[in-house]
């Protein structure tokens, strides 16, 4: 994995990976660190915190220290996380319904906005059976965040204004990866990268920017076609072709240059 990728995913991995290091959530409740040495009992001033799991004592008032403590969560963050979780759950219910509807296809159905087209289940060779969708919340939230980054760009805004859904041609027009389909981590990350690279075609014109984009597009053209075959037929376990190494580094450069809007936390479900 590239360093860039590693940094991006570190936060997501933290709860699982850092158990042996000092600064985990419950570390101050333990007498010994993972290496066996006795801990200093500096956390005694806040004895109530260990019992948070079982319900706090009645007259519990936290003697809070100044500044962020690793245990104390920021309300703003918590609420945004709650919101993302419930949005993802709502998406899942909607998607499930859409899958069920697809079993009874109706003509003239308006293709509503949402995380995926109902076309997905009809056209593609692998229509996900009811059990075959991604349901792990952590994964879904991580994927949704990645999608949000992409949708939060000026390029995306310009794209959806310019090309309405029904005018989209597969292969030519970028399509948001479906977070409910089962993919390996690598496959998903690759799809996201490709999607974002394609979106760059709609970057707002800048002086030198547009020339650069021309060059990038030409370079990536051949590789893109190849990638597309991988993308369209992939459901599980598609591997990253090694020839994409070149396009990846180009893509990463162009990432940093993408004009971004203010952070959208509510996914306005436009794609």
């Amino acid at each position: 994995m590239s360093a860039h990728q590693k940094n991006r995913y570190e936060n997501d991995y933290k709860p699982d990976e850092n158990r042996n290091k000092g600064a985990s959530r419950w570390s101050h409740c333990r007498k010994r660190g993972a290496d066996g040495s006795l801990r200093k009992s500096h956390a005694i001033e806040e004895p109530g915190k260990c019992s948070q799991h079982s319900g706090r004592p009645e007259s519990f008032t936290t003697p809070e220290s100044e500044g962020p403590v690793s245990r104390v969560k920021n309300w703003g963050d918590e609420v945004e996380a709650e919101e993302m979780r419930s949005n993802v759950r709502n998406d899942m219910h909607r998607y499930r319904r859409r899958i069920l509807e697809a079993d009874f296809p109706q003509r003239e159905r308006k293709i509503s906005s949402g995380s995926s087209d109902s076309r997905d289940s009809r056209d593609s060779k692998e229509s996900p059976a009811k059990g075959d969708i991604e349901t792990d919340e952590t994964t879904l939230i991580r994927r949704q965040k990645q999608i949000n980054y992409g949708k939060n760009t000026l390029a995306y805004d310009r794209y959806i204004k310019e090309v309405p859904k029904h005018m989209r041609q597969p292969g030519v027009h970028p399509k948001t990866p479906n977070k409910f389909k089962k993919y390996s981590r690598r496959s998903w990350d690759q799809q996201i990268k490709l999607w974002r690279v394609k979106l760059h075609a709609w970057d707002p014109p800048a002086e030198e920017g547009s020339d650069l984009q021309q060059i990038e597009e030409i370079d990536l053209g051949e590789i893109m076609d190849f990638e597309l075959d991988v993308e369209c037929s992939a459901d599980t376990e598609s591997q990253c072709p090694t020839s994409s190494g070149k396009s990846l580094s180009l893509a990463e450069d162009s990432f940093t240059g993408t004009p971004k809007k203010m952070m959208k936390t509510e996914d306005a479900e436009m794609s």
Binding site: R56, E58, G76, E80, N90, K264, E266
Partner: protein
């Protein structure tokens, strides 16, 4: 207790109930100076053009001073949150509001020592936010424990002797008690043990305080609703 004193008590209880009825936002609006009023109006029309952090601070500052304002403040905040979400698809206001609220909550004991009035305003405001601001129609889980912490504090012996604090406690329980219990019934049980103990054992409570506590104990026992009997006892006007 059928005397002039009880009449005064029941009138106060009526007022307490009336305070969580539906009121227009006009009274809250007028509490602000012109600059803030303009900012607020613009926030509804075009949130991107407003300094939402400044607005959220203005609202919090006013809430900590003005008890009658705090009750509507939650609704006002909710309106701004909605406007921002729909028109700008961001949640800057809500985030700033919560951050500021968390700071005030963290410093609540100092606030209480400095001014009981401000402390009571803070609790009222936090509960108002909890009541109005929802995430996909669910209550803000992040605020559940903080609200309980505030109510526990109000149920302490040194708070129960202040009618101002008892008043706040019962009003908030009427407003958000049921919701709160749904999110964490164990803590609600513990809170009511405290209230029951206070009612039965604490000797220095005023009769008004005892009445308020009795009413809330019965209120919860009947499933967060007022039975006819209770209504007659606590709220009916007696021709003196």
């Amino acid at each position: 207790m059928r005397s002039g004193q009880s009449h005064a008590i029941r009138k106060r209880m009526k007022q307490a109930r009336g305070s969580f009825g539906v009121r227009g936002m006009d009274s809250a609006w007028t509490a602000f100076d012109v600059v803030t009023q303009t900012m607020l109006q613009k926030a509804f029309d075009d949130p991107k053009t407003v300094d939402l952090e400044k607005l959220s601070n203005a609202i919090v500052d006013q809430s900590l001073k003005d008890l009658s304002f705090c009750k509507d403040a939650g609704r006002m905040c909710y309106a701004v949150v909605q406007a921002e979400a729909q028109k700008a698809a961001t949640s800057v206001f809500r985030r700033n509001l919560l951050t500021r609220l968390q700071q005030e909550f963290t410093a609540r004991e100092q606030t209480r020592n400095r001014s009981v009035r401000e402390w009571v305003c803070l609790v009222t405001f936090i509960c108002s936010i909890f009541d109005y601001i929802k995430v996909n129609n669910a209550p803000l889980v992040a605020l559940v424990d903080p609200v309980y912490d505030c109510l526990y504090r109000l149920a302490q012996p040194d708070a129960l002797i202040n009618e101002e604090e008892v008043d706040c406690l019962v009003v908030q329980l009427h407003r958000v008690g049921e919701q709160l219990e749904q999110t964490n019934s164990q803590r609600m049980n513990q809170l009511f043990y405290l209230l029951r103990d206070g009612f039965l054992l604490q000797e220095d409570l005023s009769s008004m305080t005892r009445l308020l506590l009795l009413e809330i104990l019965e209120f919860r026992a009947s499933g967060w609703t007022l039975t006819d009997t209770a209504h007659k006892y606590y709220y009916s006007e007696v021709a003196d």
